[in-house]
Symmetry: C2
Subunit: 235 residues, 2 copies
DNA sequence: ATGTAGTTTAAGGTCGACCTTAAACAAGGT
DNA sequence: ACCTTGTTTAAGGTCGACCTTAAACTACAT
């Protein structure tokens, strides 16, 4: 148990987990891109992780987490999101910064601290960006629907940003967009597929790339304007 | 600013700081021993740190922190002790574990988080083990007196454990010894210089090595028995 | 003054985590 | 069937952070 593994291998596991859609293996090139590494380096690392039994590599198709690897990845995601909650809720650090900060902390703690933190925070259900905090038992399935899937005229509410990344969060923060914000899709520009949405009297545009990262759910409280606080916790 | 420096070099700076007595340079062998590295490796690292301008090496005498190095070391000690307070006060983790846990966290955060944490904790004055938390302005001088300096019959109160280390803290915890605990030195065994102290009806023995790491101050509330809670905070 | 203990340098190694360039290869669409 | 694109392997490099063994050296105490 505990398996001694460094920050870098851990980031590979986490990324692999995040990039996985269904059962399909993740092309190493996708991994490499996500991490900003060369494809060759990513291949090397995948091999190392394979030797450790955390990853299964199907040549020319991609890499897949073993169940050990997936467990470890979930643990990391858990730590990451708990730290995010701590940083926002307890330290009042900005919503758009905590992702990167938590990305350091996640590698610096073990089970003892993680579980104590969880209790301390009141066993929160999601991170500040709307993603569920893994716990024992299956993680509640996030809505598969994204802004990219919406049709003009539709109303919805932002559920989560996934996958997260500093720049994306910064862009959203700039426009006051947070999980819980209600909005409507006003138009899809034919060229480039830009999505223009209306949030509380403002208009914000998203490229298709970004749009696919905004998980969306049917608007709950209809009318409920605003767009700021979406701190959903409950266990 | 910010100088990008990894966990390992950081540990060297911290150790150097802790081992420094007055103005004297610290023999590299002492550094090596503290870190559990070979002397050759420690020498290498000292050279690297010298190139970065964080350490000054006087051949055959030892290494000394430059003012840049000392600043960095103080920062680390600050982070370390703040995390310790967090782990004990907020997460209720055991007094004797938090040192090692904080030793990971101290390398995973920058100024932003550190300062927010400090505010959150109410600007504590010391770590759970009695050592002052560095802040801007000179650090209040810790008492130079240790258990090793006491004479049989003397009464005193434990101020701090310095330098800290897992095993030492574990030993103290085992006997219910904490900063704030009042005790008397009952005897110094002629052979081996064992110190036997009396704390609230128990007797505990310390070798000279350990005794020198227990900082001591004149007992404050005379009579005040017990020996547990010594959570001194105040700014 | 000399010797011993502590210190530094030299030399050679390992391993992880990155890089580049270039060649070999396989999958899948046309 | 073929070709293009994406993938893997090979080869060679760098750098940090550790290790060992062995030789050179210096400070200091006797
Ligand atoms: Mn990370
Ligand atoms: Mn998040
Ligand atoms: Mn440390
Ligand atoms: Mn402490």
């Amino acid at each position: 148990m505990a398996v001694e593994i460094g920050p870098s291998p851990e980031m590979y596991l986490k990324s692999l987990f995040e990039l996985t859609r269904g059962h399909a293996p993740v092309p190493i090139s996708a991994l490499a891109e996500r991490l900003g590494h060369s494809v060759v380096s990513a291949t090397e690392m995948v091999h190392r992780l394979e030797r450790r039994g955390l990853v299964a590599h199907e040549p020319y198709r991609g890499a897949r987490l073993t169940s050990d690897g997936a467990t470890h990845a979930r643990t990391l995601l858990r730590r990451h999101r708990l730290w995010e909650r701590f940083l926002t809720d307890e330290l009042n650090l900005p919503w758009e910064s905590v992702h990167d900060l938590a990305c350091q902390l996640e590698h610096a703690v073990g089970e003892e601290v993680t579980e104590a933190l969880d209790r301390r925070l009141g066993i929160p259900a999601t991170c500040p960006h709307g993603n569920p905090i893994p716990r024992s038992g299956p993680t509640p399935a996030a809505s598969a629907r994204t802004l990219a899937d919406m049709k003009p005229g539709e109303h919805a509410e932002l559920e989560a940003v996934h996958p997260e990344s500093g720049p994306v969060l910064a862009y959203l923060a700039q426009h006051g967009l947070r999980p819980g914000a209600a909005f409507s899709l006003e138009s899809i520009e034919p060229t480039d597929g830009l999505r223009v949405i209306g949030v509380s009297s403002t208009r914000v545009a998203f490229g298709p790339e970004l749009a696919a990262r905004l998980r969306v759910r049917p608007a709950s409280g209809p009318g409920r304007g605003g767009g700021a606080r979406g701190d959903e916790r409950r266990a």
